[in-house]
Symmetry: C2
Subunit: 335 residues, 2 copies
Amino acid sequence: MAHLSPPDINALKAGLLAGNRASLSQAITLCESSLRLHQELSLNMLEELLPHGGKSIRIGVSGIPGAGKSTFIEALGMELIEKHQKKVAVLAIDPTSEQSGGSILGDKTRMDDLSRNHNAFIRPTATSTQLGGVGQYTQAAIILCEAAGFDVVIVETVGVGQSEISVNKMVDVFLLLQIVGAGDDLQGMKRGILECVDLLVINKADGELKQKAQLEAANLKNALHLFPQKHSGWSRQVKTCSSIEKKGITDIWNAIEEHQQYLKSSGKFEVQRKQQTDAWFVDLQNNCLFDFIHTQPSVQALLIKTRAEISSTNSNPLGLVREMKIALKELFFRK
Amino acid sequence: MAHLSPPDINALKAGLLAGNRASLSQAITLCESSLRLHQELSLNMLEELLPHGGKSIRIGVSGIPGAGKSTFIEALGMELIEKHQKKVAVLAIDPTSEQSGGSILGDKTRMDDLSRNHNAFIRPTATSTQLGGVGQYTQAAIILCEAAGFDVVIVETVGVGQSEISVNKMVDVFLLLQIVGAGDDLQGMKRGILECVDLLVINKADGELKQKAQLEAANLKNALHLFPQKHSGWSRQVKTCSSIEKKGITDIWNAIEEHQQYLKSSGKFEVQRKQQTDAWFVDLQNNCLFDFIHTQPSVQALLIKTRAEISSTNSNPLGLVREMKIALKELFFRK
C-alpha cells in the first residue's frame, strides 16, 4: 500500500464500484491511513465516490459485552441475505484496539456464516487516535460500502459510551441489545445511550428465559415512556429475540423497515441524513484545521523543541503550553 | 461563574488548598468551562496548584454497567475513610452526558454514605466535546483533588472502550470489575481493556454465588497468564469481593498497596507518573494548537462561510474541505 499512486486509485475505484470486496477493503484501509499522501488520495477518491453513496439503510447496533451482538448481527445479516436478497456490510468499531496495535484477535471469526457469504462484508474500523474520534473514518467507510453496492450497513459498537453517541449521529436507526435478567428497570443503562435508541432488543430470549424476557420487555416499554421522545418523533419499540434459535429476527427487521418508512413519509429521513453530513463536515473541518497547523514545518520544530524540554526536565506541562501559545503567535504574526 | 475575576481565583485557590470541597468543585467547573476567559484563568490556576498535586494514589475503576462500580467504590471509599483515615475523591467519567446536556440524573445519589461523608468528594467529570477526549479535564481534576488534600483519587469509567484506555494513562493502578457468571473465560472482554488491568475484581461474590465466584477467579487467573505482562512487570491479580456485604474489600486495598509498593520499590512509579504527565502534555499541546488556529478571526470567518455553504446547498463536504485547505494556505502565507 505504501506506494499507491493515482492510477492505482482508479483501479481501486473501478473494483469497488463493481462490488469487489477486496477493493472495498483496500479503500477503507487507505482512508484510515495516517500517511499524508494516502490522506490526500483517499479524500479525492471519497469525493468522487460520494454520489454513489447514501443508498443503504444504516443501522447502529450496540450493547454491552456479552449482550450477543455478533450472534445477533449474524442472524439478522443472514436473514437479510437469504430472505430479502440484500447485500450486508458490517463495520465493527473497536475503540480499544489502540493499545494492542489494532489487533482484535478472534473477532474476525465471530460471524462464521456471514464472513463466508459473498453478499456480506465484515470489517473492523479504526477509531482515530487523536482527533475526530469515531466519526471521520466510519462515515467514510459507510459511504464506501454503499458505493460498493451494499444495501444494508450495520455499524457495531462494543462500548457503552462515546462511540455510541458518535454512531447515533451517522445511522438511520439505532438498536440497543439487552440481555435477559440485566434488570427490568433501566438502571445501569446510561441516559445518554437510551436517548439514542430507536429499538431496544432483548436478546437471548430462549429456553427457560423466554418468559422472563417477555416480562422484561413489557416493563421496559413502560419505563421508556418516561424518556423524552426521539427528535424524529418516533416511539421507541421494545422487541425480544433469540439470535441462536433465529426467532424474532423477522419481527425486528419489520420494525426497522417500519422506522425507515416513518422517517421517509414524514420527510425526516432527508433531514436526518443532512444532519449526518453536517456532523461529518464539522469533523472533517476540525481535522483539516488541526492538520494544517500541525504539519507546518515551523510548528513541527516547535513541537519537537517543547517535547524535548518536557522529557529532559521537570518543567511543568502547563508552563510549557503557555510558552507555546506565545511562540505560535510569533510564528504566524511576526511579519 | 460568568464574571469570575483574578481576585476570585485567589480566593478559590486558598479555599481549595484549605480542603474546602465547594472550592474544589468550583475549580473543576472552571477547568471544564469552554469560555476562553475561564480557560486562561484555569490554566494559570492549575499551573500554580501543580506543585501541590501528585501525592495521591490514583486508582482507575472500570466495568460494564451492572458490574456494581458505585457500590464497590462506596465500600472501598468508606473503608479507606473509616479504617485508614484517608480522604477519598471520586471522579466519575460519563462519556454519554453530552447529549442530555451534562445531566446524569440520579447518579449523584448512588453513593449514599460516601456522598454524605466530609472526607469524601464525588464529582462527575465532563469529557471534552471535541478534542483531547477524556484526558485533559480528568487529569486537571485529579491534580485539583490532590491539591485539596485528597489521599486517594478514584477515577470511575462507565464504558468499556476509549475512556478506559485514556484513564489507564492517568492512574497508578487499574481495577476492572467483573460480575459472577459473566463467564469464566475472557470472552466479551476486549483485549485492549485487559491489557490495562492490574487487578481483576469479581464483584457480587455473595450468597449462593460465592463459590461460583471463587471458581471463576481461579479460571480467570489461568486465562490472564496468556496475556503479555503489564509494562510495569506487575503480575495481574484476581480477587473476589462482595461490596454489599463489605467482604474482600480489605484484601483488595492490600493488593492496591502492594502494587503501589511494587511500583515504588522498582522505580517504576516515577517513570509511570512521568509518562502520565507526558501524555497529558501531548493532549494540552494538541488542544493548544487547535485552539490557536480555530480562534483566529480569519479562520472563524472562513468556518462561518463554509458552514453556511454546506447548509444552504447540496455541495459535498469533501469538496468544501478541499477548498478550505487552499483558503487556509492563502490566509497564512499570502503575505
